[in-house]
């Protein structure tokens, strides 16, 4: 609804705060989401996301939400679907060229961004929308994406040793392993609490 959408822009700072709490929670839930299966979750989450964001922002479910970078003014409400700023046709009163009764989505966006803590994200160049993602959940996508990034960072750390000693890795793979390590492969982590000093000491030597 137009009035609610404008309200959201006027309170962009609040919605930014809400989302900043919501996003890490979604990322934390990633292990559960993975166990249940992102595929199975897609439909119910889409329904929920569509209802909430549809009511607040007139969300069009593009699947690639950038509200945090657009002052909480959804760019898909722009008749030209512009993702990077207003066009050159904004009317003297700041309204839309195509829909004269509507405030330019991007005039609102810049106003909303000025109220937000990280409002300068509006200056980031956004890519064109991937139409094949239309109708899918942006929230689940963010959870997946950020959790994946976290895992990738961990992996990169694990790989650093092998990259620093490439010859050793080639000749003695076990000296600088690259492959996935199941948790049982590092018994000393649990062992330090319950076993004797002698045992843990010998394990340290071997490690």
């Amino acid at each position: 609804m137009y009035a609610v959408r404008r309200f959201a822009v006027r309170h962009s700072r609040f919605f930014e705060w809400v989302y900043n709490c919501f996003e890490p929670a979604m990322v934390l839930l990633d292990p559960i989401f993975r166990r249940v299966g992102y595929n199975r979750l897609e439909a119910p989450v889409v329904l929920f996301e569509k209802t909430v964001k549809g009511l607040l922002f007139d969300c069009k479910m593009c699947g690639q939400c950038v509200l945090s970078s657009t002052g909480m003014s959804c760019p898909m409400n722009c008749p030209k679907n512009l993702r990077n700023g207003p066009c050159g046709g904004v009317r003297e009163n700041g309204n839309c060229e195509v829909k004269p009764a509507m405030k330019c989505v991007w005039v609102d966006a810049w106003e909303g961004a000025s109220r937000m803590k990280s409002g300068d994200k509006i200056t980031t160049v956004q890519p064109p929308v991937d139409r094949s993602l239309e109708g899918s959940s942006s929230w689940l996508r963010v959870a997946r994406e950020m959790a994946e990034q976290k895992r990738a960072t961990k992996e990169a750390e694990r790989h650093a040793m092998a990259e620093a000693f490439p010859e050793a890795h080639l000749e003695e793979p076990a000296a600088v392993p690259l492959a996935y390590e199941p948790s049982a492969a590092r018994p000393h982590r649990e062992a330090t609490e319950s076993t004797t000093v002698f045992e843990s000491g010998s394990k340290k030597e071997g490690a």
Binding site: L82, R83, N84, C87, G88, R91, T123, V125, P127, R131
Partner: protein, 338 residues
């Protein structure tokens, strides 16, 4: 080289010519701007015709005074000969052309392909535009595309040129050598953020900017102050948009019917009070060009004289902006625009 095959005689893209060092294309406009000379570009009125002679006829009166001819891409959402077709014809006879691409009519697949085709035909300047909405044109029932916006389009073309690949990541054998431009509209709301949007365009890949009509110099100065404060005039060449108004009536019509055009009342009053409004419009245009030349950060002018193209040559020579070229003493300000 002996011309054994017919295609050997043609190298419209100048693929064999090396690009000057530090330049991104063989464009004359780029050379003029980088040398610090005051550049002049003009908009060509695209014919509603399939006859190449109509293109040359429209180009002739403009060609002697400009460094680049803009071939509009269905501006105002009205259908005319395509920008690509016009540019291909112009390059054949050696004119510097500026291909305009509007995001309204074509999606990313069509646009990326067109850019390769254009570059192969010798087009070396491309102006990236969002485009007017279809509702203002002569076929308002058309489906608007807007797959890209002007800024994502700029980034896509820069990726094609600098990284030699399509947005899909697929390699391009010979990347297009192109000088990338964008538009700006300093006299239209939201005024406070127009300079920020310009910064975003530069960030996305814009090397030159052609503005929409500017009749309100104080407003433009305000914009330029902000541009200079942000140091943007060092990063991009700004060509200020100018044009002769035909009459007060025409000016009023433009103001209400063409999106994104701001004509202040004092200009309209001046036209209304004049005996010969046509001449007065020309005079106003010349005055604005002369004032533009004094604005720090303005690298040239872009003349849009829709259906009054015959005036452009006079306007430019009377404004005196090209005089130094004959004398061979240009204001040479070496700059480091990317």
């Amino acid at each position: 080289m002996s011309a054994e095959r017919p295609e050997d005689r043609l190298d419209p893209a100048g693929l064999t010519n090396p690009v000057p060092e530090g330049h991104s294309s063989n464009s004359r406009l780029e050379r003029v701007l980088r040398s610090g000379r005051f550049a002049v570009t003009a908009e060509l009125n695209p014919p509603d015709s399939a006859n190449p002679e109509d293109v040359y006829e429209a180009a002739r009166p403009l060609s002697e005074v400009v460094d680049g001819l803009n071939a509009t891409d269905a501006s105002g959402a009205n259908c005319h000969m395509s920008s690509l077709g016009i540019c291909a014809l112009l390059t054949r006879v050696g004119y510097g052309s500026i291909l305009q691409i509007s995001c309204r009519d074509r999606n990313r697949i069509a646009i990326q392909g067109d850019v390769l085709g254009a570059a192969a035909m010798g087009v070396s300047n491309i102006l990236c535009l969002t485009g007017d909405g279809v509702q203002v044109g002569d076929q308002p029932g058309a489906r608007p595309v807007f797959d890209f916006d002007s800024i994502s389009l700029l980034r896509a073309l820069r990726t094609m040129r600098d990284d030699g690949m399509f947005l899909s990541g697929r390699k391009i054998k010979t990347p297009p050598k192109i000088f990338l431009g964008a538009a700006e509209n300093p006299c239209i709301p939201p005024f406070e953020t127009r300079a920020d949007r310009l910064a975003k365009k530069i960030e996305a890949g814009a090397q030159f900017i052609q503005t929409n009509y500017i009749y309100d110099l104080p407003l433009f100065e305000r914009f330029m102050n902000r541009v200079r404060d942000m140091g943007l005039d060092e990063k991009v060449y700004i060509l200020a948009g100018v044009g002769p108004l035909a009459s007060a009536k025409a000016a009023r019509w433009m103001r209400t019917n063409v999106p994104g055009i701001h004509v202040p009342d004092h200009v309209i009053d001046r036209l209304e009070g004049a005996e010969k409004p046509g001449l007065e419009g020309k005079k106003i245009c010349i005055e604005i060009i002369q004032q533009m030349r004094e604005v720090k950060g303005v690298a040239g002018v872009h003349v849009m004289a829709y259906r009054r193209e015959e005036l452009v040559s006079d306007i430019i020579s009377e404004s005196g902006v090209l005089e130094h070229r004959h004398a061979g003493t240009g204001r040479r300000r070496k700059r480091t625009a990317g």
